[in-house]
């Protein structure tokens, strides 16, 4: 890579490609690509990581003792009470954070307080909703050895959304949404939720209302109609996200009926540490060591089999720093956290692009220590990366997304068994959610998939449908005009209704034809690390 000359820019997040710009780095699944964009292309970079809280334990104690619109936690505790603590699952943060996980620190403080007040009847439930059950070692990593040894497995376990005896109806909203939650949580004197917000879509009413619910309850908002009425999942205002609107009204019912003490945290975007810390920074700021490091690791990854590459990425733990801790009533707590979250993530951007280029990292909430199968590649491109905006999408309506990913036709048999059938059978019928939605019931009633969710470590059989619906907004906006560059298995993009290109130049030519412009406006969404573009049209 030619050493770029230092450039003075007015906007640290935005760079325009000129003849002095060196190659840029994009994730390509478990590999990297060095790419060159046309002159005049815009590169959008995330904000640098915010400084974490200095004394996190003190901040946690302060939050518990000075909650939002609630009495302090200690005032809610009494000897002999029945207490349930729900905790976020393995789907965040991404990648998993370096130990100790902030949830371990939160749980330690909470349990210490409980011990002081004679609260013994405590269950800790991993709020997986319809995600896969976490394994023992995964839970141990999250909560720490002491808590794991003291509580697992009788008093520390995964939520089971399909346990016929383990779910109760809390109530029905005026709009007809059934709120059905974990029985132990509902019947407790106090429910504490220990949350870690990675993105603004997490937290708030999503924590209890979704994390501890069942299929009937979650289908109130995870359905084609609700998701088609969302403009951005990451803009939590009800007028922007119908999903959030429904979750909020269900959550308000929960807060009326149960005593919920919500503890919420958010983190900076320092995703990469140690030998890969250069990936946190724009390429123009890399020093010689960063460049050498990058080239060495790229060369090594290019020569490995995919299995080995995945193992390497599985070992990378993120040195995230916690930037806010708040506690109390759900909504005001969440509001404080969102302010900090957007302070870290929001990047102002003027103008949309005809073509958005993105590198897709081998990370999704649903493939931690797993395989990023084709359906998850789809959800990452059209569900997550496309939706990381407020205002209007970064790409114009009818525009094109060019994405780098290996797109391998591989599935984790234990985690994603229903995805295999969805990919081969449902997508052969149609890529339109309205056409395949009718098959959801068949999957949900499949006793084998249900068994694998309940007793194994499989995602609930409805999950691939939700992943597909999740991509609908993006699919509609760009008319499914997604070009994958250099797929290992070109059949995969075809099955998803996308296009293949061998190189970026070929993809840009195709995009030019699709947009009808000889020189389309190109922007690179240089993520990860995470950012949310505040786009003005």
């Amino acid at each position: 890579m030619a050493r770029p000359r230092p450039r003075i820019t007015r906007d640290p997040n935005i760079e325009f490609v000129d003849d002095k710009t060196g190659p840029l780095v994009a994730f390509h699944g478990t590999r990297f690509k060095e790419i060159s964009l046309p002159r005049g292309s815009r590169i959008i970079y995330p904000n640098p990581p915010m400084e974490p809280i200095g004394n996190l334990k003190a901040a946690i104690r302060y939050a518990l003792n000075h909650p939002e619109e609630s009495e302090p936690l200690f005032a809610k505790l009494r000897p002999g009470m029945k207490l349930t603590i729900a905790v976020d699952d393995i789907s965040l943060p991404l990648p998993p954070m370096q130990r100790p996980d902030v949830r371990e620190l939160l749980l330690t403080e909470v349990l210490s307080l409980c011990a002081d007040y004679g609260v013994d009847d405590i269950h800790i439930i991993v709020a997986i909703c319809l995600h896969r059950r976490m394994t023992g070692p995964e839970i141990k990593r999250m909560v720490g050895d002491k808590i794991y040894d003291a509580y697992y497995p009788d008093r520390l376990y995964n939520h089971d959304a399909e346990d016929p005896d383990g779910i109760v109806e809390v109530g029905i909203t005026p709009e007809g949404d059934h709120v059905r939650l974990n029985k132990r949580a509902v019947e407790s004197d106090l429910l504490i939720y220990v949350n870690l917000n990675l993105v603004p879509m997490n937290g708030g009413h999503k924590s209890v209302t979704v994390g501890l619910c069942d299929y009937l309850s979650v289908s109130a908002h995870h359905n084609t109609h609700a998701l088609h009425r969302c403009h951005s999942y990451f803009d939590p205002r009800p007028e922007s996200s119908h999903l959030q609107k429904v979750m909020d009204r269900m959550g308000r019912l929960v807060d009326e009926k149960l005593d919920v003490f919500h503890i919420e945290t958010t983190i900076n975007n320092r995703m990469f540490g140690g030998l890969v810390s250069h990936l946190n920074k724009p390429e123009r700021t890399w020093n010689d060591f960063d460049r050498l490091n990058f080239h060495t690791s790229k060369a090594a990854l290019d020569r490995m089999p995919e299995v080995a590459r995945r193992k390497i990425f599985d070992q990378i733990a993120a040195p995230y720093g916690v930037i806010a801790v708040h506690a109390g009533k759900t909504e005001p707590t969440h509001k404080r956290i969102l302010e900090k979250s957007f302070e870290q993530y929001a990047v102002p951007v003027k103008g949309q692009a005809d073509v958005v280029v993105m590198g897709v990292a081998p990370i999704t909430p649903y493939s931690v220590y797993s395989i990023m199968n084709p359906i998850l590649v789809q959800v990452m491109v059209l569900g997550y990366l496309f939706n990381m905006y407020r205002g209007v999408p970064l790409v114009k309506e009818g525009g094109v997304i060019i994405a780098f990913h290996t797109c391998r036709e591989e599935f984790h048999r234990e985690h994603h068994p229903s995805y295999v059938e969805f990919y081969h059978r449902m997508l052969a019928i149609s890529t339109n959610s309205y056409d395949i939605h009718q098959y959801e019931k068949e999957f949900v009633e499949n006793p084998d998939y249900i068994h694998m969710y309940r007793k194994g470590h499989a995602y609930h059989p409805v999950h691939p449908f939700y992943m597909w619906y999740w991509g609908d907004a993006g699919r509609k906006h760009v008319r499914n005009q997604v070009i994958i560059v250099d797929a290992d298995h070109p059949r995969v993009p075809q099955q998803l209704g996308w296009m293949n290109a061998r190189t970026l130049d070929e993809a840009l030519e195709m995009a030019s034809t699709l947009t009808g412009k000889s020189q389309p406006e190109v922007s690179m969404f240089h993520c990860p690390p995470i950012m949310i573009c505040d786009v003005e049209a």
């Binding site: 048999r413 499949n446 006793p447 084998d448 068994h451």
Partner: protein, 220 residues
């Protein structure tokens, strides 16, 4: 019933197998000398049976069941009930009981298709409340087992044939039927239905399941 769910037994629903079952019978025949002889013969022949099973399940069945020669019929059936209560019942996979309950609730007829003997399958079928069951039967002459099985012997492709005939008789579309098995010898049976599942699969079945994208389940 909208379709049927077919289950192999040994290794799929229970953690015992035909060798364990015969071993129990051998140690409970009348006469100490006979017990010792049968027990010793079984132990000595185990490596040979392992090889025979690799050659083919039907081949294994043909030679293994000769061990039953001379055992009285009534003793086999009476001991079968006792064997179930004392040994087999404790070895039933609880996960599979739950699965069968759910499967039944979803409208699937529950059917056992096994190479094990009817003497042990009958009490198991009652315990699991299945709708139908198919098992191997010993041939008896003058009230004593000859060591031969009554044709057709249920193993490998014959299990698939039994399953197909059952589905035809009951008007079930095989595309909607399910089958559960743990052994590579049951690949024909699994291949006959639209929804096969490998349960606690051996290495060969696991590789086949992965190659064909069949779900793999671990039950205990």
């Amino acid at each position: 019933m909208k379709a049927a769910a077919f289950y192999d037994v040994d290794g799929t629903l229970i953690s015992t197998n035909v060798v364990h079952i015969y071993g129990w019978y051998a140690l409970n025949v009348p006469g100490l000398a006979d017990r010792l002889t049968r027990g010793a013969r079984l132990a000595a022949a185990l490596p040979f049976y392992a090889v025979a099973d690799r050659i083919g399940r039907k081949f294994f069945n043909d030679i293994f069941y000769r061990n039953y020669r001379g055992i009285p019929q009534d003793r086999l059936y009476v001991l079968g009930e006792e064997l179930f209560d004392r040994v087999v019942k404790k070895k039933v996979f609880q996960d599979m009981i739950e699965l069968m309950k759910r499967s039944r609730a979803e409208g699937y007829a529950q059917v056992l298709v096994t190479g094990a003997l009817d003497t042990i399958t009958a009490p198991l079928a009652r315990y699991l409340e299945v709708d139908h069951w198919f098992a191997n039967k010993l041939e008896f002459i003058d009230g004593e087992a000859t060591g031969e099985l009554v044709a057709p012997v249920l193993a490998g492709p014959q299990k698939a044939e039994t399953l197909r005939r059952f589905a035809l008789e009951h008007g079930y579309d095989l595309n909607h039927c399910r089958a559960y098995a743990d052994s590579a010898s049951d690949i024909p049976m699994l291949s006959a239905v639209g929804r096969p599942v490998a349960v606690n699969p051996d290495t060969t079945l696991k590789a086949t399941a992965h190659a064909h994208d069949w779900p793999v389940m671990w039950a205990k």
